[in-house]
């Protein structure tokens, strides 16, 4: 088990190397002069030359990548030209809110999705099954950015129950810890729900299929032959089987949630990495894009490691070797 975790963590290294190489290569394809793009048409030739030297544009892109890599190993992700500060500082500052948003959305999505899937499969009732199937279909077909706007319209504009943007109420001076937590949670609800409903669609769809499969399995029949109660069969035996099957899907949904954060953070003015990335792309700030993508990719890989471990804990047949 411990060896498995270490090996999976070591696998993170080639994956992140590959990711950074891809992002560097892609950004190197940018036609035109990045220095000119950053400074605009009215920049002085001296400033342009200075920036080109700073960005090492006279070197081929792979040399720049190697240089960047050497820096990363020393904890230096370079300097953002648009923010005029170290990339590492900017990225780390924005990482927390994004992780908070993604974790809330993923957990909400998993709970909603599993509940819907199990309900559809366990209740041998055509109406429930149809209703769940329909809502799951809506979930996977919803544009999350549109859903975000609808939620703002309904809960912030019309009903006025929840804030429409930001993470903390700006005029909340000297808040206590409890008050601050409550305020952040109020801000968190709508953006995380926008992502969660879509993730719940996918999880619910897989969950329903998994539940039907488990319920038809031989060991469930033997449970009934052994005289176990229906409640025990569903909540102990079937539920564990469904969880073990759905776990990898929850891991994959972390990818959707982390990627979808780009839209949702833009809509809700959430101070996270997604918005930082959109701004960095607009400013052609290569090193900032690189740093942000790398950190999000690492988060994604780690979440998948966690769900794989959870799956292994639920089902010892899945190889941890």
């Amino acid at each position: 088990m411990g060896g498995y975790v270490v090996r999976r963590l070591l696998l993170l290294v080639p994956v992140l190397l590959g990711v950074s190489l891809v992002v560097f290569a892609v950004m190197a394809l940018v036609p035109g002069d990045p220095a000119l793009a950053i400074l605009g048409p009215y920049a002085t030739p001296e400033r342009l030359a200075e920036l080109r030297a700073e960005l090492a544009l006279d070197q081929p892109w792979w040399r720049r990548w190697l240089g960047w890599l050497a820096g990363v190993l020393k904890g230096d992700m370079g300097r953002s030209v648009s923010l005029e500060r170290p990339v590492a500082d900017a990225v780390l500052e924005r990482l927390g809110p994004t992780l908070l948003l993604a974790a809330a959305a993923l957990m909400l999505g998993a709970v909603l999705g599993l509940a819907a899937g199990l309900l559809a499969a366990f209740r041998h009732n055509l109406v429930t099954d149809r209703l769940v199937t329909l809502s799951v279909l809506l979930g996977i077909s919803l544009p999350p950015f549109w859903l975000g706007l609808l939620l703002i319209l309904l809960f912030a504009v019309w009903l006025g129950w929840l804030p429409a943007s930001g993470m903390v109420t700006p005029w909340l001076t000297e808040p206590g810890a409890a008050l601050l937590t409550a305020d952040v949670l109020r801000h968190l609800l709508l953006p995380s729900l926008s992502l969660a409903l879509v993730a719940a669609g996918v999880i619910g769809r897989i969950g329903r299929g998994a539940a039907l499969e488990v319920l038809a399995a031989d060991h469930i029949r033997l449970c009934r032959a052994r005289g176990l109660t229906q409640r025990r069969i569903l909540l102990v035996h079937a539920l564990k089987g469904v969880l073990a099957r759905v776990m990898p899907v929850i891991g994959l949904q972390a990818g959707f949630v982390l990627g979808g954060a780009v839209y949702i953070e833009t809509i809700f003015q959430w101070p996270g990495l997604g918005r930082l990335l959109v701004d960095a792309i607009a400013a052609r700030d290569l090193l900032l894009v690189q740093g942000g993508v790398l950190v999000l990719a690492a988060a994604y890989v780690l979440v998948n490691l966690a769900t794989d471990l959870a799956q292994h804990a639920l089902d010892r047949r899945t190889a941890a070797a």
Partner: protein, 640 residues
């Protein structure tokens, strides 16, 4: 007998190809309808009498719906909203479809190369795919758009490229499957070159998979390109797709919500339509995804539960100790087919005495497992049983779920066929034994240690801490027997309990079952396809053919002289130890399918002794002189 069921089934089988069936798929129909709602105006946009979607008219900004000349009103620049929606949908559909096409083609080429060009190419492609799939594809798309610059074509390209790894991986998997098929080997042997094999054998077989992948991903492709446009990275003004309209409308969300809400609604309708059609296609093209297990199938069982038939030949009417332990009368089992119920088991009448060991024998598919499960009322969804099953005088068909549950496991126990799948793979052996012992409120008849000793597993170290997959096949079956014995049942129903085991282990398990029944006066119903095997274990044998009991006799009588021609045929196909010269006869033909229209004796088509009268009416199961029961007009007799 549902003889008309078979003709109906034949009728539905002849219905037109997949497209015909798609028309009968309600989800797919609804999807086509929704799709048409968006697609038809979008395709017809150039010929529709719509105002120019890019024509701005500042004086007419934000006109309400149903204004003159503007059905849905205008946006913040006075442009006609309906026209913009139609043209925007056109753009969104086009880029979504194009992105899907590009991703599918590129992915197919890469996937095929990985599957066909050897290990080096495979390794390179798959490592690349792993890296690209290791981070959220939306981020990859963002990086690509960042490199290419904003624009609808670039956004489309970015989404396409970001999805290539997904297609490459799926196509590689499918291609590897195809590669190992026999017909590929045959084509090679026939001297066809690789390009010819690829073109003639592989691509046609890959096409359905690819089509399926494309329809199931088209929805997200539309969503994702719209998303990039929403962020301002896709369509640039004055061009617009649904995503960029949504993005622009966002500014006026609080004042003029419809400008932002309507484009999103069109996206939703479009994507729901695409996904419904995709699901329909998947149901048709991929049998693994057939909508089986739908809850409707369960209804039948409940409705029939109280219908109890009585009468019929008792079989062993004169019981020495009065009441038989188990008494089955007129047991029918129907299986729900695509065209209604098909009869799989019909008219089973049988009694089991206390402590009696009875075998139920027949070919696979003859209905013996369904019969065994029906005795416990444990039939799977999609089946219905009728008739009477009495255990110790209690009618099982009249019991509610709780009473039935307390009967199962406590008095009637079941030993499954395949203990690897029958034990819950996710729970330790000790857990499963423990919960079984506690299942009926009171303590079980035996303590865990006693159960483990009884089934001969005391020597296995850490048995209770192990998972089923950490045991051998024989050990697993012993655990399953221990579970069955926990409450000291008076009847064990063993369903092909030794079939999955190798011969030595098989013998050990048989000996164990025999001892457990002998010592504790327990009855056994042993379901098997192996007549020679059961002769050693059971006192009495029931032979089943095509859902009917055809012979019921003492094991010794039956082995010495079978009465039914089918029993004789079964015996003739059984090798005997010490008689290597014996010629094994093989029965020609196949048993009739469940529900098939057979007038007369169901064995008549394969019977070597068939007479014209056999084909006219089905014979009854009648008692013969020596105490057996035979369903045959012309039974074999001693010396015949």
């Amino acid at each position: 007998m549902s003889t008309d069921g078979s003709s109906a089934a034949g009728g539905s089988g002849r219905l037109a190809g997949p497209l015909g069936r798609l028309r009968r798929h309600p989800g797919a129909l609804a999807g086509l309808g929704l799709l048409a709602l968006v697609l038809v105006p979008a395709v017809a946009a150039p010929v529709l009498a719509l105002p120019d979607p890019a024509l701005t008219a500042p004086a007419q900004r934000m006109l309400p719906p149903l204004s003159a000349g503007h059905v849905l009103g205008t946006d913040h620049l006075g442009r006609d909203l309906l026209s913009r929606l139609v043209w925007g949908a056109r753009a969104s559909i086009a880029v979504g479809a194009l992105a899907t096409l590009i991703a599918a083609l590129a992915g197919a080429v890469l996937g095929l190369a990985a599957a066909w060009l050897g290990r080096l190419v495979d390794g390179l492609v798959m490592r690349g795919v792993d890296v690209l799939m290791a981070f959220p594809y939306l981020l990859l798309a963002l990086a690509i758009v960042a490199a290419l610059g904003p624009g609808l074509a670039n956004a489309m390209l970015a989404i396409a490229v970001a999805n290539v790894p997904f297609f490459a991986r799926a196509v590689r998997g499918a291609a590897l499957d195809i590669r190992h098929q026999d017909y590929i080997a045959a084509a090679r042997l026939a001297g066809h070159g690789e390009p010819a094999i690829l073109a003639r054998e592989v691509l046609p077989n890959l096409a359905p998979t690819l089509l399926l992948l494309m329809t199931t991903t088209l929805g997200w492709m539309v969503l994702e390109t719209a998303g990039l446009s929403f962020l301002g990275l896709g369509a640039q003004p004055p061009a617009a797709d649904l995503g960029s309209m949504l993005g622009e409308g966002r500014e006026f969300l609080t004042t003029y919500p419809r400008v932002a809400v309507l484009p999103g609604l069109v996206i939703l309708v479009l994507v729901v339509g695409i996904n419904l059609v995709g699901d329909g296609l998947r149901d048709l093209l991929d049998p693994r995804w057939s909508p089986a297990g739908s809850s409707a199938q369960r209804q039948g069982a409940k409705a029939d539960a109280r219908r109890v038939a009585v009468g019929g030949d008792a079989g062993d009417a004169e019981q020495p100790d009065g009441l038989p332990l188990l008494s089955v009368r007129g047991l029918d089992v129907d299986v729900t087919g695509p065209a209604g119920p098909l009869s799989a088991v019909a008219g089973v009448d049988v009694d089991l005495r206390r402590g009696e060991r009875v075998a139920l024998v027949g070919e696979s598919g003859c209905g013996k497992t369904l019969t065994a499960l029906a005795l416990l009322r444990l039939l799977p969804a999609g089946t219905a049983q009728r008739g009477s099953v009495r255990h110790d005088g209690t009618e099982l068909m009249a019991l509610d779920d709780t009473a039935l549950r307390h009967l199962r496991g406590r008095r009637l126990a079941y030993v499954p066929q395949e203990p690897l799948t029958a034990l819950d793979p996710l729970f330790r052996v000790g857990f499963q034994i423990g919960e079984t012992r506690r299942a009926h409120g009171t303590e079980s008849a035996y303590a865990t240690a006693a159960l483990v000793r009884m089934v001969g597993l005391s020597a296995v170290p850490d048995l209770l801490r192990r998972f089923p997959h950490e045991l051998s096949g024989g050990q697993r079956q012993r655990v399953a027997i221990a579970l069955a014995l926990a409450h000291g049942p008076d009847l064990l129903i063993a369903d092909e309990a030794t079939t999955a085991l190798d011969v030595t282990v098989q013998r050990e398990i048989l000996a164990l079952l025999r001892r457990l029944c002998d010592e504790q006066g327990r009855a056994l119903l042993f379901v098997s396809h192996d007549l020679a095997l059961v002769a050693a274990l059971c006192e009495r044998v029931l032979v089943m053919y095509a859902g009917r009991i055809v012979e019921d006799a003492a094991a010794s009588d039956l082995l010495r002289q079978p009465a039914h021609p089918y029993t004789a045929a079964l015996l003739g196909a059984t090798p005997e130890l010490g008689q290597p010269q014996k010629t094994l006869s093989v029965l020609a033909g196949e048993p009739p399918a469940p529900g098939a229209r057979v007038s007369g004796c169901r064995f008549a088509p394969r019977c070597p002794r068939v007479q014209p009268v056999c084909r006219s009416a089905e014979p009854e199961l009648v008692r013969t002189g020596d105490g057996r029961r035979v369903r045959c007009r012309f039974p074999l007799e001693d010396g015949a």
